[in-house]
């Protein structure tokens, strides 16, 4: 089992660490990637791989694909935090988070 890279994880609480893919759809605008990535760095979670690209020009949407590792509790926390990001477009429903694996 790989050691958690989080600065804050308590060793006694380690569940099984697995690799996960998280996909986030966001408005394509300055600072949005930094918001998403900041959620990871601010909590001491590591990103194994990251891909970002515009996928919907008409609606100005980008797709961020993140591969990360963590215990179920950490992953749940990441997903919940991502869902709390305030989308900057007027339509509050555009940003969404999908948990692939």
């Amino acid at each position: 089992m790989a050691k958690s890279k989080s600065a804050y994880s308590t060793p006694t609480k380690l569940g099984k660490i697995d690799t996960h893919i998280i996909v986030v759809w966001v408005d394509n605008e300055a600072s949005v990637l930094s918001r998403v990535v900041g959620l990871f760095s601010g909590r001491g979670y590591n990103i194994e791989s990251l891909a970002v690209a515009e996928v919907d020009q008409k609606n100005n949407l980008s797709r961020i694909t993140i591969v990360t590792t963590g215990t179920p509790q950490v992953i749940e926390q990441i997903v919940l935090q991502l869902k709390k990001l305030v989308p900057s477009s007027q339509d509050h429903s555009t940003s969404s988070v999908k948990f692939l694996a």
Partner: protein
């Protein structure tokens, strides 16, 4: 052709439409157009602070004591960086703030221009959301959205960074949209099934306890009323976090006192031994859980919170109810009544043993201290302050340290929004500016900052603000000449090596008060304490009260870091027997 407004005008039109009456701020080059516009908006009063951190904390005090968002206005660069501590404080304690900062003009952004800093970058991790306004046409929408984000769901700070050219540029103004998409309704994700489950758990429990937090306060005064009804209906014991004090009457028999690191023996043992733990608007902070692996090992846990990301963050719970505290309690009470479960009566038998156990813990009288007739004990000073102010509607703020814990332990709150303290961030220097914010919102009320002599020096200059606006705040300093809380930890963990925790030089606080143009009072002996406190209360001007207290006093009871709830230190004797070693030493 609709009328065009400048960015500065739009800022004020938004503030007016959001019913803002007070803003706390400090001018500078990058916000001058906004300051220039101030004169045209007589319904909005600007309070000029002496440091931007003070503006932020004052807005926090204003927000916490009113339930309305606090508004802050600062300039670019140093103005913005100075407010970061207050934004972080508000973020940690879920206080709604809207901070407007000036920025260098758009064409200079990224050039290391004079007083430029990456304000949105710096404040990203300490705000719910922030915006850099690059197009004047976005300004009205962003301003209204800022208020919406700050005040809905779990409240918190937001920041709008407005470049100077945008403040001059012109655009149409549009009013806030009526329909709010992020409001409570959308965030209430709970259903009747979950309420039924909760009621079922309540019915079966024989050792239940309510553990309530700042979420009850944030949900509004109605939530406190509903909580009182629920507690009466169930007959269950209730304890509160530091931030939740006042939601339930502090002198009620069902109230076990505050829980956590410096909470009461009965509250912490009830948390440890209970079979049903109902968390209402609290977040299992490490100050209250103690050692997480041994936290409340035998209980079913229920968590009621408006923020889904709080659920299972630290403690796995058996039942999560995501929603506004008021609405959840209302549904629970309704269900209890409908099922005709007068738990207080029907369950009396069942939980009577539990209450007997709690009474046993209570006999420890864990908040007791050995009083003295020669030297003022800090706990005694807080108790006297309470006795002499309890018959009026008093608002208390604090700084951070031992005095803060003694205030929480010995001052009893009966109403919500009367207690303002920096819990999550633990910011020394919070109390004085917060008291100013409270006094601005409640000009006729008694507002006391229970302070430490070290903390107060961090934002001392704000007393000048209090003098300028005739805000008669009372700064009640428990002066032990030490950073008492640091000294206590050094005594406990570092073999009494009091490294840099003693203030070799302190100002004469009475003379300092006079220099600022307010009133200084000193008390050095227990005999004169009451009379001096009365004098303070009866002074209709800002007062600095220098209360000389025992320098060696420690704050008990205490859960040493790394220990569970049922291993509290009750006093100095316990401390000798329970040296903190190993891992506990590295915890904060």
């Amino acid at each position: 052709m609709p009328k065009l407004y400048s960015g500065a005008e739009i800022v004020f039109k938004c503030l007016e439409d959001q019913n803002v009456e007070h803003i706390f701020g400090y001018p500078g080059g990058a916000v001058l157009p906004i300051y220039d516009e101030l004169k045209n908006h007589p319904t909005i009063k600007h309070i000029l602070v002496r440091h931007e951190q003070g503006a932020g904390h004052a807005a926090e005090g204003y927000a916490r004591s009113t339930g309305k968002p606090g508004v802050v206005l600062v300039t670019s660069g140093p103005g913005a960086t100075n407010v970061v501590t207050a934004l972080t404080d508000a973020y940690m304690d879920s206080v709604p703030l809207v901070c407007i900062s000036g920025q260098v003009p758009t064409h200079l952004i990224g050039t290391d221009a004079f007083q430029e800093c990456d304000t949105t970058g710096i404040t990203r991790p300490c705000t719910k959301h922030n915006w850099l306004v690059k197009d004047i046409n976005d300004l009205p929408r962003i301003m209204h959205e800022a208020f919406e984000v700050a005040t809905t769901g779990r409240p918190g700070p937001v920041l709008v960074d407005i470049p100077k050219d945008i403040q001059f540029a012109k655009a149409k103004y549009s009013k806030p949209k009526k329909e709010k998409k992020l409001n409570g309704k959308v965030l209430n994700k709970f259903n009747q099934k979950e309420i039924d489950q909760l009621v079922d758990l309540m019915k079966k429990a024989s050792k239940p306890v309510f553990y309530t937090g700042g979420g009850v306060i944030n949900s509004g005064p109605k939530a406190s009323e509903l909580l009182r009804e629920l507690v009466a209906l169930t007959g269950f014991p209730i304890t509160s976090t530091l931030q939740g004090l006042g939601a339930y009457p502090g002198d009620d028999n069902q109230f076990l006192g505050m829980l956590g690191m410096h909470g009461t023996y009965e509250a912490n043992n009830a948390m440890h031994d209970c079979d049903l733990l109902i968390n209402i608007g609290a977040r299992f902070d490490d100050r209250i859980t103690g050692k997480i692996d041994e936290f409340s090992p035998k209980s079913k846990k229920v968590h009621i919170d408006i923020d889904p990301s709080s659920i299972n963050k630290i403690v796995k719970v058996d039942l999560a109810i995501v929603g506004d505290v008021s609405d959840v309690i209302k549904s629970t009470t309704k269900t209890l009544k409908k099922k005709n479960l007068n738990l207080e009566k029907s369950n009396k038998q069942k939980i009577s043993k539990w209450w007997q156990q709690i009474q046993k813990w209570r006999t420890k009288k864990s908040l007791n201290f050995i009083n003295s007739d020669k030297i003022i004990k800090p706990q005694h000073a807080v108790q006297r302050l309470y006795e002499l102010t309890k018959n009026q509607d008093t608002y208390i703020t604090t700084e951070v340290g031992q005095h803060q814990m003694w205030a929480a332990q010995h001052y009893k709150f009966n109403k919500p929004n009367r207690w303002m303290t920096s819990g999550g961030l633990g910011t020394m220097g919070y109390g004085l500016p917060a008291a100013i914010g409270v006094q601005v919102a409640h000009p006729k009320k008694l507002v006391v900052d229970i302070a430490g002599e070290a903390s107060i020096l961090m934002t001392m200059q704000e007393i000048s603000t209090a003098v300028q606006y005739n805000l008669p705040v009372k700064i009640f300093i428990l002066n032990n000449q030490y950073m008492g809380m640091v000294r206590q930890w050094q005594e406990l963990l570092h073999e009494k090596n009091y490294s840099e925790s003693y203030s070799e030089a302190l100002p004469d606080f009475v003379k300092l008060a006079e220099a600022y143009g307010c009133v200084g009072i000193r008390a050095e002996h227990p005999d004169e304490l009451d009379e001096k406190i009365e004098e303070m209360i009866n002074t209709d001007r800002p007062v600095i009260f220098d209360c000389h207290v025992d320098q060696a006093e420690n704050c008990y009871p205490m859960i040493p870091s790394g220990k569970p709830h049922n291993q509290m230190l009750l006093g100095p004797k316990d401390q000798e027997a329970n040296k903190i070693t190993g891992k506990g030493k590295s915890l904060v």
